[in-house]
């Protein structure tokens, strides 16, 4: 799992400069998009799609910290999205829509869940770790389905979006877009600092060679657990945003398939580069959004009913596409960029 992640040693030269440009372009695109969207004639649609991309980008980026920099394949990351979302939904339905209450509660709950499940999971290695994180995710999923007061299986509508100092500022989709943008930018900066810090360096070291790290005096468990907690809290925040965007919470936030999608986003973008995870999330969601449209266009030779059937079953294309990407596009999108740079 370690071989593909790029080294974090700061010795890349030409690529280092290129790497510096990619996140800049990415965030510039998000910053310009609302202005372009105003002219697109479908402003609401574009804003909501891009907001979704940023929220998933945040979740995928948080996963990248443990997956890309710590080589910990956590298959239960969607649980944290659920914790964040349910914190918002439950508090709002109890009458506290204030974001300054909701977010700290969501972060504390995520941290607690990460601390307890992480401490148990990190005792295991490899496949057992994948499985036990999956099991903890399922545990929370079933807990959510049994919360009859909050919609059980069916989920429930969140009565109102979070308020900031009591104001209903975030009710505006544009304001919410900018709120998500700022969250993503701030947490990108924070994670960028973390991976370069003393802590991040130790985490990257445990990814490459845990035994070596022990033999110079580190106990990998402590650093992995701390990273797991940080990552979980950030995903919890993404969950808060997600509940606000959809104004709906349900156990579907934390299915194991959702955890799988998050992993896929990170791998698609390229492990261990942070902005790669955001790019991966964007690519995944845009593909999901436009593959049916694309199939519709590509099927122009077919009869109408076949064409409809093709579009309805776009996942039959999506699945094999995923397999092909795994088999042939190693290193993800960032890896392709890097190869292009050398070639």
């Amino acid at each position: 799992m370690t071989a593909r992640a790029p080294s974090g040693s700061g010795t890349q030269t030409r690529f280092g400069r290129r790497l510096g440009l990619a996140p800049f372009l990415l965030f510039a695109a998000f910053a310009v998009a609302p202005f372009l969207a105003a002219f697109s004639g479908a402003e609401g649609y574009v804003l909501s799609l891009l907001t979704r991309v940023m929220i998933f980008g945040l979740a995928a980026m948080s996963l990248d910290l443990i997956l890309g920099y710590g080589a910990l394949v956590s298959f239960g990351h969607a649980a944290f999205l659920g914790i964040g979302a349910y914190a918002v939904g439950i508090l709002a339905s109890q009458g506290s829509a204030e974001i300054l209450i909701q977010v700290p509660v969501a972060l504390a709950a995520s941290a607690l869940f990460a601390l307890v499940t992480g401490a148990i999971s990190l005792r295991t290695k490899g496949v057992y770790f994948i499985m036990i994180t999956l099991a903890f995710g399922q545990m929370l999923f079933f807990l959510a389905t049994s919360l009859a007061a909050y919609g059980g299986d069916d989920g429930m509508t969140v009565p109102e979006r979070s308020r900031l100092f009591g104001s209903r500022l975030l009710e505006s989709d544009l304001a919410f877009y900018w709120a998500c943008f700022l969250c993503l930018l701030a947490l990108y900066g924070l994670l960028r600092a973390i991976v370069g810090s003393r802590f991040g360096r130790v985490l990257r070291g445990t990814r490459e060679n845990p035994v070596r790290m022990e033999s110079i005096g580190y106990h990998p468990f402590r650093y992995q657990l701390a990273a797991y907690v940080i990552s979980g809290m950030m995903a919890g925040l993404a969950g808060c945003l997600m509940a606000n965007q959809t104004e709906f919470i349900s156990p579907a936030y934390m299915t194991w398939q959702r955890s799988g999608e998050l992993i896929f986003m990170v791998v698609l973008g390229g492990l261990g580069s942070l902005h790669g995870a955001i790019i991966g999330a964007a690519a995944f969601l845009l593909l999901e959004e436009f593959l049916p449209e694309f199939l519709h266009a590509a099927g122009f030779l077919l009869q109408d009913d076949m064409r409809t059937r093709l579009v309805e079953n776009w996942k039959m294309i999506f699945g094999p596409l995923l397999i092909l990407i795994v088999l042939f596009a190693r290193g993800g999108i960032m890896g392709l960029l890097r190869r292009g740079d050398h070639g």
Binding site: I120, F264, V267, K315, M316, G319, P320
Partner: protein
């Protein structure tokens, strides 16, 4: 009354556990021998159920349908092995997780494409229909007893194959030390293929057997896959014996827990809270059970690797 209920629920748990074992057996071998993590094992169970539904509608006969479904499930497994899985043996677990996730997306949609999204029903064979009185005034469906019998039979057969045949010996050796087996000059690729096809067929068999008592629908393999993973992790990856013990434990804990957790909690809490907490707790029980076992034995109950 409670004792009777406990007895019935234990039988249900046993039946569920044996179905889990059929799925987990293939999964744990593929996992143990090839170090290959196959998320698509659950859809092979689903494919088995769909094949059963299709052949049963075509032939109108349960026995013939089962006879056709088994080799077809095997064929599907072998095709998938050749097309996808074979290229993933040398990859890390992350790649395997993702690619087999892609197979799930494809097949879940594929059965919708072929058979539609509506659930299908498979009639139980006439000679296994109805109920039998297993104790005073206690009726139990014959078909469920048949599943228990079939599950025990397959378990016994697996035990014989794994412990008393050459292939079984290689499989056991492979699970504890795969490089050693390939160093002995065994065609490891062919061994993989056999194990894989066999595992797919067992999962397909499980799907075919439950088709008459569950509705056959897309995604039916997704949740049972997770339970099968719980089973093999509790049992110890690569261990058939572990999978058997763990499958029965999980089946019993889940089934009995669901009906008795509210009752047990009533001893501690007031009835309303107890029934609510019980309903919340019951589906989480097996995961708590698994976490507890891994906490004390990080490699499961019967670790095969040394």
């Amino acid at each position: 009354m409670t004792a009777t209920l406990l007895f019935v629920q234990s039988l249900n748990g046993l039946q569920f556990g044996l179905i889990l074992f059929l799925i987990a057996a293939g999964l744990t071998l593929v996992f143990g021998v090839m170090d290959f993590i196959n998320l698509a094992h659950g859809v092979q169970y689903m494919v088995g159920a769909y094949l059963m539904a299709a052949f049963s509608a075509w032939t109108g006969n349960f026995g013939w349908a089962l006879l056709l479904a088994l080799p077809s499930a095997l064929a599907v497994g072998l095709v998938l092995e050749a097309l996808v899985f074979r290229h993933l043996y040398d990859r890390d677990h992350l790649d395997q997780v993702l690619a087999t996730f892609g197979v799930i997306l494809f097949l879940n949609q594929g059965v919708k494409f072929v058979w539609g999204a509506a659930p299908l029903n498979v009639p139980a064979p006439g000679w296994l229909a109805g109920s039998v009185e297993i104790a005073d005034g206690l009726l139990y469906p014959v078909y469920r007893l048949a599943i228990i019998a079939a599950g025990l039979l397959v378990a016994a057969m697996l035990y014989l194959i794994v412990n008393h045949t050459r292939v079984g010996m290689l499989v056991r050796a492979g699970a504890s030390n795969a490089p050693m087996v390939s160093a002995l000059g065994v065609n490891i690729r062919r061994l993989f293929m056999i194990v894989f096809g066999f595992g797919a067929m067992l999962a397909g068999f499980a799907g075919a057997m439950v088709a008459p008592i569950l509705s056959v629908e897309p995604g039916m393999g997704d949740n049972i896959l997770i339970l099968a993973f719980v089973v093999i992790v509790i049992g110890g990856i690569g261990s058939i014996r572990g999978a058997f013990v763990a499958a029965l434990l999980v089946g019993l804990v889940d089934t009995v827990g669901r009906s008795f957790a509210p009752n047990l909690l009533r001893l501690l809490l007031d009835p309303a809270t107890a029934s609510q907490a019980g309903r919340a707790l019951a589906p989480m029980l097996i995961y708590i059970f698994m976490a507890a076992i891994l906490f004390f034995r990080p490699s499961g109950l019967f670790p095969a690797k040394r």
